[in-house]
Symmetry: C2
Subunit: 147 residues, 2 copies
DNA sequence: TCAGCTAATGCAACAGTGTAGCGTTTAATG
DNA sequence: CATTAAACGCTACACTGTTGCATTAGCTGA
């Protein structure tokens, strides 16, 4: 019995998908797993830097692409035209996202499940839906002194 | 009684907003008015080219920006990280969009009105919502020989 | 009609995000 | 340990969008 049958660490997850367990790849997945919000390429790179993980910009892109290909991560386009990545926790990732217009953070709203498929006009076939709610997150809605 | 009080042409609309009626600006607005789908900067530029309207890339960007500022046009980020523009027809533009994953076109689905605000978790305050449904449009769903 | 003001233009150069090519490194395997 | 190719890391590039600035040309008022 190996750890592969119970992939709960980043290394296990990577190996389970037939990928090589490399320093950058593990670190990237760790960052994504630890994050509650979808992260941009830049934010992930910054996190790696803080952890002292040397990495190349291109390698990071390629690892993210690989994670998406493997179905481990999910990629979405924010309103700032930047890809943001997050690990796929929900089975189909069929939930909405909340974009805070003040702090720019992106949150997952698992509570919101799309129920609008019924309203699709004739001829249109839905594959997936992306719902981004814009507004202020709890942290930014709360009264603050500074800005 | 001048035409300004009844701004139904692109020139009138521009003048009514205190903008100068220039060749490119009129042409850009005309293109947007004539289109049923939100258009990217590139698509608009291509349309201008076809109409024989000489223009500069930057000027086009600035005109689009101005139109958005004036509330004449609306800007949204597609899934390909490209801004797409459309004239604001609906009062609040509170409707969904459909992105065809095959031909890349973006359609307005006025029938779909967001009714998900009720489900927002506590602490989140919604400003607006952007719902993008992905799938195949009627044109691409229909059986075709070529690709 | 014409001069003056400045919004708008057009050119060049730049910035940020993401990709492609390619030689080198290194994780996995026997 | 030798082998092999996946992954790396570097350079260079493509694309979308922005900034600076001198020039042009709408609008206004005489």
């Amino acid at each position: 019995m190996t750890a592969l049958s119970d992939p709960h660490t980043s290394s296990d997850m990577i190996a389970a998908h037939g990928g090589r367990v490399t320093r950058t790849r593990v670190a990237v997945l760790d960052v994504l797993l630890a994050s509650q919000q979808p992260l941009s390429h830049d934010e992930i790179g910054e996190a790696l830097r803080k952890e002292g993980v040397p990495h190349d910009r291109v390698t990071l892109y390629r690892n993210l692409e690989w994670l998406v290909e493997q179905g481990i991560a999910h990629r979405m386009a924010g309103d700032d035209r930047v890809w943001r990545f997050s690990v796929v926790t929900t089975s189909e990732h069929e939930h909405a996202h909340f974009h805070c217009d003040r702090c720019g953070q992106l949150f997952c709203l698992d509570a919101l499940t799309p129920a609008f498929a019924i309203a699709l006009p004739n001829g249109y076939s839905m594959n997936r839906a992306e719902l981004i709610v814009h507004g202020a997150c709890p942290g930014c809605s709360a009264p603050k002194s500074g800005t």
